[in-house]
């Protein structure tokens, strides 16, 4: 079975390739002087990503034909990547927490949402005592008020 990291790499490269192609086509619709750099960057990225996708496909074919070392070797002996399903689930969970904060900020504002989020997160996810999580929330509120006064920070 093909390892998930290889598949993820291929999928991400393919998505980026589609994005680069779209970007390049879109760049063609601009006025001449506005299109030089986007076209240069888009065409370059499309070319490079095509090469990367071909390489990833070759690697997967190699792997399925028994060349298992392909997993850990990049073209110039690069990096080793290991992505477990637990890691993927945890990533999705924490990105979900961030989206939750975004919605909360949109509804209640960061001055309210931020400290409450930090306190609740510490209590629920990190299992910190209630006293510490409340203190952290209040500390964060204090920091925001200080920044608002001294450095003229604005909050949504």
């Amino acid at each position: 079975m093909i390892p998930s990291e290889m598949l993820l790499r291929l999928v991400v490269c393919a998505i980026l390739l589609v994005g680069a192609v779209f970007y390049t086509i879109e760049a063609l619709s601009f006025e001449l002087e506005a299109r030089y750099v986007p076209l240069l960057a888009g065409a370059g990225a499309t070319l490079l990503l095509t090469l990367v996708v071909i390489r990833e496909v070759v690697r997967i074919v190699d792997y399925s034909m028994g060349e298992r070392r392909a997993l850990t070797q990049t073209l110039e002996g690069g990096s080793e990547v290991k992505i477990s399903s637990a890691m993927a689930i945890a990533s999705i969970k924490y990105i979900g927490w961030m989206l939750l904060l975004l919605v909360f900020v949109w509804q209640a504002g960061l001055l309210v949402a931020g400290p409450i989020f930090a306190g609740v997160f510490l209590r629920v996810d990190s299992r910190v005592s209630l006293r510490i999580s409340v203190s952290v929330g209040l500390g964060l509120l204090g920091l925001f008020l200080f920044l608002g006064e001294v450095v003229d920070f604005r909050f949504p």
């Binding site: 879109e26 601009f30 002087e33 888009g42 890691m87 989020f117």
Partner: protein
């Protein structure tokens, strides 16, 4: 020149500037000490403060932060054997070995003092290069600057550690992100898709936070690194200091090496300490003890990685081409402060450029003093658990991102780029070229527009343009080819060996 140097020095003597420089230094110390938080994350957090600052104060804070990052990252390297940043990896070999022998303070003392000397050396070289480069920079025309910017993008893409195809792609994606919004010189909005927020383009604060800060926070939460308890740092600091002075030639040699490597865009942080360590290993007498707690194994990489900061600032300040992610953010910060990167920095804005040099020297001295006097309490920060810090950091990232254009779109864009940055981190794709490409893109477009307006396509016939073009080709084709040949050669004896 002398007038500008004195003017810069005068600007440094303000209470407000010193307050913010200290804020930068303290932040740099804290972020450097906590394992898992890189210097780039802190830099991204400092950028939003610049919106309401005057240029000199802003420069003081940013340079204060940059100067100490490579000093304080030694704490986790020596005490718990975890690098605080990429630049302190080689220090672990002998620093951690010394700590296990109960000589952590000696290693830290040597590290702080060699970092100070390296940092001052790097700043001195930076000053010399600025003086020497001024006449040359004045002679550059917009086509040359366009080609130099292209050279910077190519060099960063290819030389950065990891996969060069992805490095270059990453740099080009940075350029692509920067083209969102209004085009320079012509009234056209690109890739905005009718979204009002995108008409102004993406801000460097949002991109930097998304690309570096959000992925690091996610990593802190997911990895849940266990607490590494360590002994207290007591006594021996001055012994280390004396040993640095005893090995002054090693300090100067490593500092020179660090400055040179730092000046090459893309190469800097990740390799400078290893190169300095390897050179020290080969050039010093009686090197058998290296790797088992030889103090020279701490002095060499620490002098080099602090000197590197001065080296990295050479292309950043002289040509407006940042050589690392931190330098790219410094350049972004200078833009926020109203400074135009490029030749103007050595001309109309020379006093501000020299403020960077002075601030670098002063911040290195203050950092050394603070580290010597507060080494024990600072070292306790290595016990901070990432998962406790992450939620607070995430909320602060939200507040920081919002300062860019005070639109909820800032936070949404930061999260979107954050997820992309996390995938890049997960797949070990280089992220530094992306931020560098992003910072360089406006200059690239401006210089190209100027070249086309003044010379039409004739600028391509300039001799200087052709020479730089040749360099770019050499970097894009020659270096990867040489690397591939090297790999092929290395594989041959291995396969023969395994078959026999």
């Amino acid at each position: 020149m002398l007038e500008a140097a004195l003017s810069a020095l005068v600007h440094l003597w303000s209470i407000e500037l010193w307050f913010y420089m200290l804020l930068g230094i303290v932040g740099g110390l804290i972020i450097g000490v906590i394992p898992g938080l890189g210097g780039v994350v802190g830099m991204a957090l400092y950028l939003p403060f610049l919106f309401s600052m005057d240029p000199y104060t802003g420069i003081g804070m940013l340079v204060g932060y940059i100067a100490v990052g490579q000093t304080s990252d030694t704490f986790p390297a020596v005490l718990i054997g975890v690098p605080g940043s990429a630049g302190s990896q080689a220090t672990i070999l002998d620093g951690y070995a010394l700590a296990r022998k109960g000589e952590a303070a000696r290693a830290l003392g040597a590290s702080f003092s060699s970092s100070l000397l390296g940092g001052v050396f790097g700043a001195a070289v930076l000053l010399l290069v600025i003086v020497a480069a001024r006449p040359f920079i004045h002679a550059l025309k917009s086509p040359d600057l366009f080609m130099f910017t292209m050279l910077g993008i190519a060099a960063v893409g290819v030389l950065v550690r990891g996969d060069y195809l992805l490095g270059l792609t990453s740099a080009l994606f940075g350029v692509m992100l920067a083209t969102v919004g209004g085009a320079p010189a012509v009234p056209e909005y690109r890739f905005a898709f009718g979204e009002l927020y995108l008409y102004d383009g993406l801000h460097i604060v949002v991109v930097a936070l998304g690309l570096f800060a959000v992925p690091e926070a996610l990593e802190l939460l997911i990895k849940r690194t266990p607490i590494s308890r360590h002994g207290r740092v007591k006594g021996g600091l001055w012994k280390g200091f004396k040993e640095t002075l005893d090995h002054k030639f090693l300090v100067w040699r490593s500092s020179l090496l660090g400055t040179i490597v730092g000046a090459i865009p893309g190469l800097g942080a990740s390799v400078v300490d290893w190169i300095a360590y390897a050179v020290a290993l080969r050039t010093v007498k009686d090197s058998e003890g290296f790797g088992q707690g030889d103090i020279r194994g701490v002095i060499a990489p620490e002098s080099a990685n602090n000197a590197k900061e001065g080296g990295t600032l050479i292309p950043t300040l002289v040509l407006g081409i940042p050589g690392s992610a931190t330098a790219a953010m410094l350049l972004g910060g200078l833009i926020i402060l109203g400074i135009n990167p490029g030749p103007e920095m050595l001309d109309q804005q020379l006093d501000m450029t020299l403020t960077v040099v002075w601030a670098l020297v002063i911040a290195n001295v203050i950092a050394c003093v603070v580290c010597f006097s507060l080494s024990d309490p600072i070292s306790r920060l290595t016990n901070v658990r990432g998962e406790f810090l992450a939620p607070v950091l995430i909320v602060i990232f939200f507040a920081a991102a919002y300062q860019s254009s005070q639109h909820l779109g800032d936070i949404i864009a930061m999260l979107g780029i954050g997820v992309f940055g996390y995938v890049m981190r997960l797949l070990a794709w280089p992220r530094a070229p992306l931020i560098i490409g992003f910072v360089l893109a406006p200059g690239l477009e401006r210089y190209l527009h100027l070249s086309m307006s003044v010379y039409d396509f004739k600028w391509m016939e300039f001799l200087s343009v052709r020479i730089t073009g040749l360099f770019i080709l050499l970097i894009l084709i020659g270096l990867p080819a040489a690397r591939l040949l090297g790999i092929a050669r290395n594989r041959r004896p291995h396969s023969r060996g395994s078959s026999s």
